[in-house]
Protein backbone atom coordinates (compact mmCIF):
# COMPACT_ATOMS: atom_id res chain seq x y z
CA UNK A 1 0.00 0.00 0.00
CA UNK A 2 1.10 3.56 -0.65
CA UNK A 3 2.83 5.06 2.36
CA UNK A 4 1.02 7.91 4.11
CA UNK A 5 2.87 11.20 4.34
CA UNK A 6 1.62 13.78 6.83
CA UNK A 7 2.58 17.36 6.01
CA UNK A 8 3.15 19.28 9.22
CA UNK A 9 2.56 22.96 9.89
CA UNK A 10 3.26 25.48 12.65
CA UNK A 11 3.61 23.93 16.11
CA UNK A 12 3.29 20.38 14.72
CA UNK A 13 6.34 20.99 12.54
CA UNK A 14 8.15 22.28 15.58
CA UNK A 15 7.13 19.30 17.74
CA UNK A 16 8.22 16.80 15.10
CA UNK A 17 11.34 18.68 14.06
CA UNK A 18 10.40 18.05 10.42
CA UNK A 19 8.01 19.28 7.72
CA UNK A 20 6.77 15.77 6.96
CA UNK A 21 6.16 12.52 8.77
CA UNK A 22 5.94 9.27 6.79
CA UNK A 23 4.14 6.08 7.81
CA UNK A 24 5.10 2.95 5.87
CA UNK A 25 3.24 0.08 7.60
CA UNK A 26 -0.29 1.12 6.67
CA UNK A 27 -2.02 -2.17 5.78
CA UNK A 28 -4.94 -1.71 8.18
CA UNK A 29 -5.38 1.99 7.53
CA UNK A 30 -8.51 2.84 5.52
CA UNK A 31 -9.67 6.22 6.79
CA UNK A 32 -8.09 9.49 7.80
CA UNK A 33 -9.08 8.64 11.37
CA UNK A 34 -7.21 5.31 11.16
CA UNK A 35 -4.15 7.11 9.84
CA UNK A 36 -4.25 9.63 12.67
CA UNK A 37 -4.56 6.84 15.25
CA UNK A 38 -1.49 5.17 13.78
CA UNK A 39 0.39 8.45 13.73
CA UNK A 40 -0.45 9.01 17.40
CA UNK A 41 1.00 5.59 18.26
CA UNK A 42 4.12 6.03 16.14
CA UNK A 43 4.78 9.65 17.13
CA UNK A 44 3.51 10.14 20.69
CA UNK A 45 4.96 13.66 20.83
CA UNK A 46 2.29 14.66 18.29
CA UNK A 47 -0.62 12.69 19.79
CA UNK A 48 -1.87 15.45 22.08
CA UNK A 49 -2.13 17.96 19.24
CA UNK A 50 -4.01 15.90 16.68
CA UNK A 51 -7.60 16.35 17.91
CA UNK A 52 -7.58 20.05 17.12
CA UNK A 53 -6.05 19.64 13.66
CA UNK A 54 -7.95 19.92 10.43
CA UNK A 55 -6.90 17.44 7.75
CA UNK A 56 -6.43 18.62 4.20
CA UNK A 57 -5.93 16.89 0.86
CA UNK A 58 -4.91 19.25 -1.93
CA UNK A 59 -6.89 22.40 -1.18
CA UNK A 60 -9.87 20.72 0.51
CA UNK A 61 -10.59 19.90 4.14
CA UNK A 62 -11.27 16.16 4.60
CA UNK A 63 -12.96 14.44 7.50
CA UNK A 64 -11.86 11.71 9.91
CA UNK A 65 -14.37 9.29 8.34
CA UNK A 66 -13.10 9.88 4.78
CA UNK A 67 -10.81 7.42 3.01
CA UNK A 68 -7.11 8.15 2.93
CA UNK A 69 -6.39 10.18 -0.26
CA UNK A 70 -5.05 8.10 -3.15
CA UNK A 71 -1.74 9.98 -3.16
CA UNK A 72 -1.32 9.22 0.55
CA UNK A 73 -0.68 12.87 1.45
CA UNK A 74 -2.54 14.46 4.35
CA UNK A 75 -1.78 17.97 5.59
CA UNK A 76 -2.32 18.51 9.31
CA UNK A 77 -3.43 22.04 10.14
CA UNK A 78 -3.34 23.11 13.78
CA UNK A 79 -5.60 25.94 15.03
CA UNK A 80 -5.16 29.05 12.91
CA UNK A 81 -4.17 32.56 14.00
CA UNK A 82 -3.86 34.91 11.05
CA UNK A 83 -4.68 38.59 10.85
Amino acid sequence: MTPIVFELFANLERLAGAKECRLDAVDDVATIGDALALLARERPELAGSLDRCACVSGDAIVRRADAVPSDGRIALLPPVAGG
Binding site: N11, D51, L77, V80, G82, G83
Partner: protein, 161 residues
Amino acid sequence: MTHEVLSHDPVAVEPLLELDAHPECGGLALFVGTVRDHHEGRAVRHLKYTAHEPLAAKIIREVEHVTRERYGVPYIRIVHRLGDLAIGDIAIVCVVRAPHRAEAFDACRYAVDAVKHGAPIWKEEFYTDGSSAFVEGCCIRDDLEEDAPAVHRHHSHTSHG
Protein backbone atom coordinates in the same frame (compact mmCIF):
# COMPACT_ATOMS: atom_id res chain seq x y z
CA MET B 1 -10.05 37.97 -12.71
CA THR B 2 -8.09 36.44 -9.88
CA HIS B 3 -5.80 38.54 -7.79
CA GLU B 4 -3.23 37.93 -5.13
CA VAL B 5 -4.68 37.27 -1.69
CA LEU B 6 -1.44 36.06 -0.07
CA SER B 7 1.72 38.13 -0.35
CA HIS B 8 5.29 37.26 0.55
CA ASP B 9 6.23 40.89 -0.06
CA PRO B 10 5.22 44.04 1.84
CA VAL B 11 1.63 45.05 1.09
CA ALA B 12 0.87 48.51 -0.36
CA VAL B 13 -2.59 49.77 0.62
CA GLU B 14 -3.09 52.49 -1.97
CA PRO B 15 -3.36 50.28 -5.08
CA LEU B 16 -6.09 48.22 -3.38
CA LEU B 17 -8.45 51.17 -2.86
CA GLU B 18 -9.76 51.60 -6.43
CA LEU B 19 -11.02 55.05 -5.50
CA ASP B 20 -11.84 56.00 -9.09
CA ALA B 21 -13.31 52.68 -10.20
CA HIS B 22 -16.70 52.53 -8.45
CA PRO B 23 -18.75 55.67 -9.09
CA GLU B 24 -21.82 54.06 -7.52
CA CYS B 25 -19.99 53.72 -4.20
CA GLY B 26 -19.96 56.50 -1.65
CA GLY B 27 -18.27 54.47 1.04
CA LEU B 28 -14.90 52.86 1.49
CA ALA B 29 -14.18 50.85 4.64
CA LEU B 30 -10.58 49.89 5.25
CA PHE B 31 -9.05 47.66 7.87
CA VAL B 32 -5.30 47.40 8.15
CA GLY B 33 -3.90 44.99 10.72
CA THR B 34 -0.32 45.72 11.75
CA VAL B 35 2.19 43.88 13.88
CA ARG B 36 1.88 44.80 17.55
CA ASP B 37 4.85 44.95 19.91
CA HIS B 38 3.20 42.93 22.68
CA HIS B 39 0.97 39.91 23.19
CA GLU B 40 -0.57 38.82 26.49
CA GLY B 41 1.98 40.71 28.50
CA ARG B 42 5.03 39.61 26.52
CA ALA B 43 7.18 41.98 24.47
CA VAL B 44 7.21 40.93 20.82
CA ARG B 45 10.28 41.72 18.71
CA HIS B 46 9.06 40.41 15.33
CA LEU B 47 6.91 37.65 13.92
CA LYS B 48 6.51 35.20 11.11
CA TYR B 49 3.35 34.19 9.25
CA THR B 50 3.18 30.82 7.54
CA ALA B 51 0.23 29.24 5.75
CA HIS B 52 -1.12 26.22 3.98
CA GLU B 53 -1.13 28.39 0.90
CA PRO B 54 -3.51 26.52 -1.46
CA LEU B 55 -6.26 26.25 1.15
CA ALA B 56 -5.64 29.70 2.65
CA ALA B 57 -5.94 31.32 -0.78
CA LYS B 58 -9.10 29.35 -1.52
CA ILE B 59 -10.70 30.28 1.80
CA ILE B 60 -9.85 33.97 1.47
CA ARG B 61 -11.38 34.01 -2.03
CA GLU B 62 -14.48 32.31 -0.60
CA VAL B 63 -14.68 34.96 2.13
CA GLU B 64 -14.52 37.67 -0.52
CA HIS B 65 -17.29 35.97 -2.49
CA VAL B 66 -19.54 35.39 0.52
CA THR B 67 -19.02 38.96 1.72
CA ARG B 68 -19.98 40.39 -1.69
CA GLU B 69 -23.14 38.28 -1.74
CA ARG B 70 -24.17 38.73 1.89
CA TYR B 71 -23.66 42.49 2.12
CA GLY B 72 -24.34 43.39 -1.50
CA VAL B 73 -21.00 45.15 -1.86
CA PRO B 74 -19.52 45.42 -5.37
CA TYR B 75 -15.87 45.43 -4.38
CA ILE B 76 -13.81 43.73 -1.71
CA ARG B 77 -10.10 43.01 -1.62
CA ILE B 78 -8.28 41.08 1.07
CA VAL B 79 -4.53 40.58 1.16
CA HIS B 80 -2.73 38.69 3.92
CA ARG B 81 1.01 38.95 4.33
CA LEU B 82 3.26 35.90 4.82
CA GLY B 83 6.88 35.63 5.91
CA ASP B 84 8.97 37.64 8.37
CA LEU B 85 7.40 40.87 9.60
CA ALA B 86 8.72 43.65 11.82
CA ILE B 87 6.73 45.64 14.39
CA GLY B 88 4.39 47.99 12.52
CA ASP B 89 4.42 46.02 9.27
CA ILE B 90 1.10 45.37 7.58
CA ALA B 91 -0.26 41.88 8.28
CA ILE B 92 -3.67 42.09 6.61
CA VAL B 93 -5.57 44.59 4.50
CA CYS B 94 -9.29 44.48 3.79
CA VAL B 95 -10.91 47.10 1.55
CA VAL B 96 -14.66 47.27 0.93
CA ARG B 97 -16.38 49.72 -1.41
CA ALA B 98 -20.12 50.11 -0.95
CA PRO B 99 -22.87 52.58 -1.85
CA HIS B 100 -23.27 53.53 1.83
CA ARG B 101 -21.16 53.37 4.96
CA ALA B 102 -23.26 50.89 6.94
CA GLU B 103 -22.72 47.93 4.64
CA ALA B 104 -19.11 48.96 4.07
CA PHE B 105 -18.33 48.81 7.81
CA ASP B 106 -20.31 45.61 8.36
CA ALA B 107 -18.82 43.80 5.39
CA CYS B 108 -15.27 44.80 6.29
CA ARG B 109 -15.62 43.57 9.85
CA TYR B 110 -17.24 40.31 8.78
CA ALA B 111 -14.54 39.60 6.19
CA VAL B 112 -11.60 40.24 8.50
CA ASP B 113 -13.09 38.09 11.25
CA ALA B 114 -13.85 35.29 8.78
CA VAL B 115 -10.26 35.24 7.54
CA LYS B 116 -8.81 35.27 11.04
CA HIS B 117 -11.05 32.41 12.17
CA GLY B 118 -10.96 30.27 9.03
CA ALA B 119 -7.86 30.68 6.87
CA PRO B 120 -4.98 28.32 7.69
CA ILE B 121 -2.40 30.96 8.57
CA TRP B 122 -0.19 30.77 11.65
CA LYS B 123 1.53 33.49 13.61
CA GLU B 124 4.85 32.68 15.26
CA GLU B 125 5.88 35.41 17.66
CA PHE B 126 9.50 36.06 18.61
CA TYR B 127 9.90 37.66 22.01
CA THR B 128 12.53 39.99 23.38
CA ASP B 129 13.75 37.26 25.73
CA GLY B 130 14.83 35.17 22.71
CA SER B 131 11.99 32.64 22.88
CA SER B 132 9.21 32.16 20.37
CA ALA B 133 5.74 30.62 20.26
CA PHE B 134 2.85 30.01 17.90
CA VAL B 135 -0.20 32.03 18.87
CA GLU B 136 -3.05 29.83 20.04
CA GLY B 137 -5.84 30.09 17.51
CA CYS B 138 -9.09 28.71 16.14
CA CYS B 139 -9.63 25.04 15.31
CA ILE B 140 -10.85 24.74 11.70
CA ARG B 141 -11.89 21.08 11.81
CA ASP B 142 -15.44 20.75 10.54
CA ASP B 143 -16.10 17.25 11.93
CA LEU B 144 -15.04 17.81 15.51
CA GLU B 145 -18.42 17.13 17.09
CA GLU B 146 -18.73 13.77 15.37
CA ASP B 147 -16.02 11.99 17.31
CA ALA B 148 -14.70 14.26 20.03
CA PRO B 149 -16.05 16.51 22.77
CA ALA B 150 -16.92 19.94 21.38
CA VAL B 151 -15.24 21.76 24.25
CA HIS B 152 -12.36 23.01 22.10
CA ARG B 153 -14.61 24.55 19.49
CA HIS B 154 -16.21 27.09 21.78
CA HIS B 155 -13.20 28.92 23.09
CA SER B 156 -12.88 32.65 23.47
CA HIS B 157 -11.49 34.66 20.60
CA THR B 158 -10.43 37.54 22.79
CA SER B 159 -6.82 36.45 23.10
CA HIS B 160 -6.00 36.67 19.42
CA GLY B 161 -7.52 39.87 18.17
